[in-house]
């Protein structure tokens, strides 16, 4: 591996491979699709999710209880010499392939987000070192001037709200969804690229 890969901007094919390896590899390893905005949502609503988890564990216990009752009922029927109802075989109840993987636990999603941060830091550290940059990119400053912090904050709110309204962002819809040719994802991706293009043209025309 030459140093070009560690230093400069990657050519499009290398970037495309890296993104695809991440999205497909994540799904192949865990059976769950990669989607970053969903991780934010789960972190924000983590208290409710943990409460639901506790309820579901209690429900699982009730399922065991129901199972025990069922067994006792069958025993009683046998004892009384009554015909047992037809049993469903476990094979028939087993999930048919392809299977549904359970959700990645909350802490796993937290690890993913922290490591994305670390990945950005590593890339920067290996290519000239990290310099803390308090003011936005020059172009962003030129476009928004003193309102740049407001643009960042408002933009963030729109990103957070919009991705949850759409049910996905660049990773969940753009890669995991478009890669599977899902109608909702294709539509959503077209919409966020479209509105990004439209606003950028307006910004370039009006502010620059």
């Amino acid at each position: 591996m030459n140093l070009e890969v560690l230093n400069g901007r990657w050519p499009f094919w290398l970037g495309a491979m890296a993104l695809a390896i991440t999205a497909v590899g994540y799904a192949a390893t865990l059976g769950r699709l990669l989607g970053v905005s969903g991780m934010y949502e789960r972190l924000v609503n983590s208290r409710a999710e943990l409460a639901t988890d506790r309820e579901e564990r209690a429900f699982a216990d009730r399922a065991v209880l129901a199972e025990a009752l069922h067994r006792e009922t069958l025993l009683e029927l046998q004892r009384q010499g009554l015909p047992a109802p037809e049993r469903t075989s476990p094979e028939a109840l087993a999930p048919a392939r392809p299977e549904v993987a359970p959700r990645v636990p909350l802490w796993g999603q937290g690890v993913f987000l922290l490591m994305m941060f670390a990945g950005g830091a590593l890339a920067k550290a290996l290519s000239g070192g990290i310099a803390v940059q308090a003011s936005p990119d020059p172009l962003h400053l030129r476009l928004f001037g003193a309102a740049a912090p407001l643009a960042l904050l408002l933009g963030g709110v729109l990103v957070g709200f919009g991705t949850r309204l759409a049910g996905g962002c660049t990773s969940g819809h753009g890669l995991s969804g478009c890669g599977r040719l899902q109608p909702g994802s294709l539509l959503s991706t077209a919409c966020f690229f479209g509105s990004g293009v439209a606003l950028s043209f307006v910004l370039a025309r009006v502010l620059a």
Binding site: W10, F12, G15, A16, A20, I21, A23, A27, A28, T29, L30, V36, M39, L75, P90, P98, E99, A101, R103, V104, G108, F112, F117, A118, G119, G120, L122, K124, I130, V132, L139, L152, L154, G155, G156, L158, V159, G160, F161, G162, T163, L165, A166, G167, G168, T170, H173, G174, G177, G179, R180, L181, L187, S188, T189, F192, S195, L199, S200, A204
Partner: protein, 162 residues
């Protein structure tokens, strides 16, 4: 009486085979390794692709530089090949087209063009030392929280999540 003892000795099989599946479907080691490894790789890659820089994203939206668009398009094409193979093994959530796909997509796109960040990129920006991205990150958390509020307040439908 003796018959009942015999019956007790051989109880009928359970209706459903007891499931001893691990709680998360995979061991914690695999979950940790996959999330840490792919998270690090994605952050590293996005930084080198240049998605963290507002100028690059702005030029992508203006079609002034096609590299990012080609990167994304190429990734989708490669993903299509990969997921075609994967879907024989796993069932993945289906994403129907719904009103939220359009409104949410449009709102997200506006935010992306304003801030230059999507939910993943903002973390990469922070890792790169772009401290101003803290504002974007705060905004994204606020927006996510606001959506949950709106959902509970007005009973908006829950979108399928990935």
């Amino acid at each position: 009486m003796s018959a009942s003892v015999e019956v007790m000795a051989a109880p009928p099989p359970a209706r459903v085979a007891p499931r001893a599946a691990p709680r998360w479907g995979a061991g914690w080691g695999r979950i940790l390794a996959a999330n840490a490894g792919f998270g690090l790789f994605l952050g590293f890659s996005l930084s080198h692709i240049g998605f963290g820089e507002y100028g690059e994203v702005h030029r992508m939206f203006l079609f002034a530089d096609l590299r990012l668009l080609l990167t994304f398009g190429g990734a989708v094409a490669l993903c299509a090949a990969g997921f075609a193979a994967l879907s024989r093994r796993w069932w993945f959530v289906q994403r129907r087209a719904q009103v939220g796909s359009v409104t949410g997509g449009v709102v997200f796109g506006l935010g992306w063009a304003l801030s230059g960040a999507c939910p993943g990129i903002v973390l990469v920006q922070l890792g790169e030392g772009r401290a101003y991205a803290l504002l974007t990150l705060g905004g994204i958390f606020a927006g996510t929280w606001l959506f949950g509020l709106a959902q509970r307040r007005w009973g908006w439908g829950v979108n399928e999540r990935c």
